[in-house]
Amino acid sequence: MERGAAPSRVTGMPYEVHTPVFDGPFDMLLHLILREQVDLYEINLSEIVDAYLAELDRMDRLDLEVATEFLLIAATLVELKARRLLPDDNEVDLDDELGLWEERDLLLARLVECKTFKDAALVLRKLSAHAARSYPRRVGPVEDRFIGLAPDLLERTTPEDLRAAYITATAPKPVIRVDISHITPIKVTVAEAVEELVDELPRVGRLTFRELTSELVDRIEVVVRFLAVLELFKQGVVELDQPGNFGEIAIVWIGDESVRAEAITIDTYEG
């Protein structure tokens, strides 16, 4: 569902409960540097490099120019980071050094450009939100005396248009959302569910999934709990046992007491 969203597990900073969805590596880099005020030294580069590789993967056909560029950015980042980590040594080639500075400036310029358009996009969002509140009249002539006048109204309509129109006409109409979040706050993040489980499971020791979710009303909450359990399983702190298909799932805590929720790495679950 969520193509191209970079993994948002980010090290070098406290993980966030409301994990932002990144639209590509630049986005992630901008976010890390600007909002977290960290420098490259603190950033887990593999995330960003992974994100670049994921972008390369996404390309329908490998576009050499773009691909090279993406690789170049990733390489520059690695190089910058390596330079930050290694003790200064005098044998650095001056040309290499200058080249790196150049690459860095280029990268800086591009981040600035990217940021510029990000902010410009906010204006587009505002404009379209405003425009959406003014509905155009698209009724056309309604009087009988004009209806017959116009040349063939189907001239520019294809069978495909008709199919699309049918689909639109029969698509379920979404209901107006009633925001009741202020009445019943529902915990929907996997991170929070993990936190609860890590808090509760060591005390209880063993629990069935049914017991775990018996008080939950919302299906989404059940799903979130389930993801949290899977997460704990992946981390090796619980064991799962299911006697058969659709059987009761038993969750057994096998981690030691020192396990803390924050140490459980959460992959992002979208949607």
């Binding site: 409301h18 509905y135 009724v139 017959g148 006048l149 189907l154 520019r156 049918y166 698509a171």
Partner: protein, 223 residues
């Protein structure tokens, strides 16, 4: 005494309406009594006339709708003949599509699929010769059933109705699903917005048009 908010609300609704709107429906939409709405409409109609507007508010088939003033007919004709507008409105196209795929179908069935009254649109389609009465429902009430005409098929370049693009492989686009889901969501809006982050990438011709979205938009605007 009529509340001030009613006249502009009535004007706005009538502006986008495809069919004449009965005063009862208008009253419900703007939160007023039917009498008040009738009074408002009559006042508006008078104002337009006094101001010498090119449009009038006409009472047609038990409802109100905007029409062009008769004296402006020559200009309107010139525009219509010009061919600039030779296209079915979205509402008409949807109605035609429902008839095409569901025929034989009654007007009530179409209205319940589209969620709006379709009398006006059906009249237009019938006048243009794209749909016609094809049968009577054998059940009680004997509703008239509609279908598409040979002239419709000809214009669409189709041999028969069975040549219409199949609907079989259709699954709601992810934006439709998402809009539906959003309609049911109770999560904070930041998250909704973040999530919407990738929906444009999902391919879907069906635009998920929702009033729920309008709400989200408004919130974005306000933040």
């Amino acid at each position: 005494m009529t509340a001030d908010h009613i006249p502009p609300a009535v004007e706005a609704i009538l502006l986008v309406a495809e069919d004449p709107l009965p005063p009862e429906l208008l009253a419900q939409l703007v939160g007023a009594s039917t009498d008040e709405v009738v009074e408002v409409c009559e006042t508006l109609a008078r104002e337009y006339e006094v101001d010498g507007r090119g449009f009038i508010l006409a009472k047609v088939a038990g409802g109100y709708r905007y029409q062009t003033a008769t004296e402006q007919a020559p200009y309107v004709e010139r525009y219509v003949l010009d061919g600039q507008s030779s296209r079915l409105s979205a509402a008409a196209l949807e109605t035609l599509a429902v008839v095409a795929y569901k025929q034989p179908v009654s007007r009530n069935q179409i209205a319940s699929i589209r969620g709006v009254n379709v009398d006006g649109v059906m009249r237009t389609l019938q006048q243009r010769g794209y749909v016609d009465e094809v049968a009577r429902d054998p059940g009680p009430g004997q509703a008239v059933l509609y279908g598409t005409t040979p002239s419709f098929l000809e214009r669409m370049g189709l041999d028969s109705v069975s040549d219409l693009p199949p609907l079989g492989e259709f699954f709601p686009g992810s934006d439709v699903v998402e809009a539906l889901e959003r309609g049911l969501r109770v999560v904070p809006d930041d998250e909704v917005i973040a999530e919407a982050g990738s929906d444009a990438e999902a391919d879907s011709d069906a635009e998920a048009d929702t009033s729920a979205e309008a709400e989200t938009d408004a919130e974005v605007d306000g933040s």
